[in-house]
């Protein structure tokens, strides 16, 4: 190694260290530094706890600026492989989404899709989701507006979670809302279980109070933040999540990947348990009062003049053991049949625009669960939905 230095330089010499330190200062200096540092640290924590600027910080984003917005809301079980992560800051979630790119263009007819993991596109790359297939049709409205679909699904089954996201999404001025639902999202006991709901107690409470939902505003599952959790120290996890969300944006932009899709997975269950129950409900009838139809109604109210297309999403229908008793892992036949009746009745009663697509997709097009579609299944579903959506748009009707 030519010209390599003869001697490795030592770290700064004592003489230069001494010169850099003010003369006469000693251990008292350390004490003062530590004390001042501690005071500043405590003050910063107090200020942070008092202001708790997580909402404001959530709006600061590099998405739609340095790198493209995400095509679905952030969610990730294995962030280091999915280049995506789950967090509870709604501002940050939406700020990273392509819907936040800019103010809605005048020539855009905006359609948002809300729903569960099936809508989000679990086990599907972003180019094979229902929303992407709908967008590929590149249709224009009669008035010359470009129809643009946005995926605002989120992988948990709860209508209250859908309502929370819808309440936030309304600021993006949708022209049409497509709300995909399934019975598993309805039981009252499932409404507050998603961590996204539990960690956004204030907006959820507001929804409960505004729409008089059959839910408890003091439910113990709400994660109300105490003083310590509002300090810088206590909020280090959500703060780190905000930074990680931005950093993963680089890899999202570089790879187009936002989900860790395993090469092989356990397929949806064909042979089913001989269990006739659905949650705590027993045959022969579902108690409508125990299902969150009030949340559905609240969503439609919240949408105001914006038309809402409610869709009972497709599900897997098993032919295996005990399929005479159950349709699939989630649903006993009696419960699901009853649910479809209840949905049809409620839709007719409230004049909701409702589409029952429960048996639309063949069983072979479901992946690891009774509601997760394959790419071909999603495309098939999009093909089926498209003329219906087009009819709504073209007719300019208000399907409520």
């Amino acid at each position: 190694m030519p010209e390599m230095t003869q001697n490795v330089k030592s770290s700064p010499s004592l003489a230069s260290d001494a010169a850099s330190a003010a003369p006469g200062v000693g251990w008292r200096f350390f004490r003062n530094v530590i004390l001042k540092g501690l005071i500043l640290f405590c003050l910063a924590n107090l200020l942070f706890a008092g202001w708790y600027p997580m909402d404001e910080l959530g709006r600061i984003t590099a998405y739609n600026f340095l790198f493209p917005g995400r095509q679905r809301l952030p969610y990730g079980d294995h962030p280091e492989r999915a280049y995506n992560l789950s967090l509870y800051n709604l501002n940050a979630m939406f700020a990273s989404h392509e819907i936040s790119t800019r103010a809605k263009p005048a020539n855009e007819y905006r359609v948002i899709l809300i729903g569960d993991s099936s809508t989000w596109g679990f086990l599907l790359p972003v180019e094979h989701t229902l929303t992407t297939y709908l967008n590929r049709r590149a249709v224009m409205t009669a008035s010359g507006k470009q129809v643009r679909f946005y995926n605002l699904g989120y992988p948990v089954m709860s209508l209250t979670k859908d309502l929370l996201l819808l309440s936030y999404a309304m600021r993006f001025e949708p022209d049409l809302i497509i709300w995909l639902v399934t019975l598993e999202s309805f039981p009252n006991d499932k409404q507050l279980y998603p961590p996204l709901v539990q960690n956004n107690p204030e907006p959820v409470r507001q929804l409960i109070q505004t729409y008089h939902l059959n839910l408890d505003v003091n439910d113990p599952s709400f994660q109300d933040l105490g003083f310590w959790q509002r300090t810088l120290i206590g909020a280090r996890r959500p703060l780190a999540d905000l930074i990680r969300l931005q950093l993963y944006g680089v890899l999202w932009a570089a790879t187009g990947i936002d989900q860790d899709i395993p090469h092989d997975y356990t397929p949806r269950m064909e042979d089913l348990p001989a269990d006739p129950n659905f949650h705590e409900f027993e045959p022969p009838q579902l108690p409508a009062s125990q299902l969150a139809f009030d949340v559905l109604e609240a969503g439609i109210q919240l949408a105001g003049d914006t038309p809402v297309l409610l869709i009972n999403e497709p599900m897997f229908i098993s032919q295996g053991a005990n399929s005479d008793l159950r349709y699939n892992f989630y649903y006993p036949r009696w419960a699901y049949d009853d649910y479809r009746l209840l949905m049809a009745e409620a839709s007719a009663r409230h004049r909701w625009h409702y589409l029952d697509a429960w048996n639309l997709i063949p069983g072979s097009e479901f992946t690891n669960s009774a509601v997760h579609l394959s790419a071909a299944g999603s495309q098939q579903f999009a093909e089926y939905l498209f003329p219906i959506i087009q009819e709504i748009i073209a007719g300019g009707e208000t399907p409520k």
Binding site: M1, P2, E3, M4, T5, N7, V8, K9, S10, S11, P12, S13, L14, A15, D17, A18, S20, A21, P23, V25, G26, W27, F29, F30, E80, R81, I243, R244, L247, Y248, V250, L251, A253, A254, T255, G256, I257
Partner: protein, 481 residues
Amino acid sequence: MGLIQVLALSLIALLLGQVSRQKWFTGVALIASILSIYWLQPSTPVRNLDFWLPTASVVITVAVWTSTQPAVSAERRQVLASLAAVVGVILLLSLTRYLGPLCCLTASRPPSILLVVIALLPAAGLLALSWLYPGAVSIFSRLALLILLGVFILLKTPPLAQSASAFLRSWSGQSIELANPSDLSWLGFSYLAFRLIHVLRDDQAGKFQGKSLADFITYALFFPAYVSGPIDRWQRWESDLQSRFTLVRSNPEDRFALTSAGFQRILMGLFKKFALADSLALISLNPQNAAQVVSTAWLWVLLFGYSLRIYLDFSGYTDIAIGLGNLMGFRLPENFDRPYLKTNLTAFWNSWHMTLALWFRAYLFNPLTRALRMRPEKLPPWLIILVGQTITMALIGLWHGVTWNFLIWGLWHGAGLFIHNRWSDWMRPRSALIEARPALARILKFSGWMLTFLFVTLGWVWFALPDLPLAWQVFQKLAGY
């Protein structure tokens, strides 16, 4: 090292920095160094290996020291006292297995004390050999060198490490199906081996005069530098050890200044490592994302991310090590000197992992080129440089792991250094001409910086990606294909 470990070690270093009596410092630093290597050793899937590996570090260190000592030593009582202290610490550590959940110094429950005693007995027997056969000390010294190199190769060669893991697993009654090279994650061994080889080579050249076993163990296992260097030389370290007593006793202002500098370095290191490098790790090139990137521009971003990350990570750890050393009254050698700002590759290697480069220069490049120059048939200087640089850089590459990608990375830099050497020779007679034109000099300097940075950054592709076809694909993609 995690944050908690850095904070705890800072506190220990600060306390050690207050010890002014040589005897006390020697004893406490020895115990602290031994305890810390057990504490820092991560857990391994092979049963009890996280206890045996640090134990092996201690045993090897003592063996190397023994093989460097003259046959008759006047300090035998002191040596026995140090050995008793070392054995005592190891036995006490093994006793923590009975503390159950309170046990916190080793990654997993230590083996039984009986097993530890049984394992230490043959080790003690081996050590006694050099006393029993004083005439054979030089043989033991060469044997120790061979053993160190052998273990080094074993650990760094994946198939060998896998076989060793399988052997250890079968020995401890575990499934050999799960054997993996990473099972043998021997924390700090690379740096320990460098220090010990340096001592053995210096001893063989008659340049080593280490007397105190306790000091020697503390030097070899010096906890600030144990995990990731810098690779200090015994002579320099020992002179620091002596001067620190004067510093602690009679120079409070310098002591304060050094402690203050130490804290600054630790804070800087923490920021570099845990805030910057760990964040950049999320957006750095790696085997997973290299195959997934769809655009050339973003691939460059990931590569630059890797380039910065590896510097910040390593120099962050070095800052922490130097800072901890400062708290104890030591001035460990610098390892980095703004390497990415250098305008040629030679300057880069004079400022990147400097103690490693110096080590290879002292113990490989210089002896090798000297031997080549001494050959009866005269070789042209450029050929001597080419051979010397290529072999040195190839071995620096292989030090990271005996795999093709590290070898190619080393050869990449060897070739780069040789080209720069030829370029420098060609430019030398033209230097006056260039200096007369400041604008041209500035352009050349800027071009030199850019080329050096790009060359080093592109070289990281080999370093980051063990899969050669993938690395080649990345090069193609970086070029826009």
